[in-house]
Symmetry: C2
Subunit: 134 residues, 2 copies
DNA sequence: CAGAATCCAATTGGATACTG
DNA sequence: CAGTATCCAATTGGATTCTG
């Protein structure tokens, strides 16, 4: 989804950034909510730590998503000059706000597991990224 | 995003529906949050009413999204046998729960309009789908 | 370890025209 | 009015291999 949408004002077409559409860009990316959530749970995580917590994400996708989240100022990256390299990701203040804001959504989602089609009700909570710590 | 993910249990691989991933499927669709929001604002809306409120959605996309939301039992459709035809969409109880759950997210989004890059701060609130009524 | 690079399949969604 | 039918361009994200 494009971040820019057109607004009409006094006959001229110009660009605006609509926050609601902006947030949809952010949270609609497949792994975003999960990342925000686990970083909320764990405080700091390294690249491979995230790979594990997320279970199934590819390095490319994770890398892309992390960059997008940094650009949005939702997570921060701390690099240590060591060998082997160490990099730690954590939520920014904005990211923590977002995490708070999605908690009701996560709870709503978690409570929907009474749907008939599900077969793995007892198991999914074992997935680290599905744990919600308040 | 696929609705099914694999879970391991006692050596066997079987399918499960993880609610957290399920909800991401739902809300990550481009117009979903906007639809849930305007239906929360307006109670009942007809197809073309939604088209107007949403400003920029194509009939195909709206139609697809509405079907998906019905399937998820988030909105309901009421058809009247009249000519010309009349159809009204509204939130189900589940949909209303979802709406409540996303309010913090919408507010968070609305408060982010202090970002530097924006040029249309005064205007976006005029977009009906961006109004949030509590 | 923390990614970058490449390639590719599937999904998404927009534009447009048409219909009961 | 409330969609459906087509067609198509762009985006997304997975698999895999490689590297500082």
């Amino acid at each position: 989804m494009s971040k820019e949408s057109k607004c009409q004002k006094d006959g001229r077409t110009h660009l605006c950034l609509c926050p609601l559409e902006g947030v949809i860009d952010v949270i609609s990316k497949k792994w975003t909510l999960l990342i925000i959530n686990v970083l909320g749970n764990c405080e700091k995580l390294r690249f491979n730590g995230l790979m594990e917590q997320l279970e199934g994400v590819s390095p490319k996708t994770l890398s892309d998503t992390l960059k997008a989240l940094q650009k949005e100022n939702l997570i921060m990256k701390e690099t240590f000059n060591e060998i082997p390299p160490r990099v730690e990701y954590s939520l920014t203040a904005d990211g923590k706000e977002l995490r708070k804001a999605i908690v009701p959504l996560l709870k709503w989602a978690a409570e929907r597991d009474c749907l008939p089609k599900q077969k793995c009700v007892q198991n999914y909570r074992n997935k680290p990224s599905h744990r919600i710590e308040l």
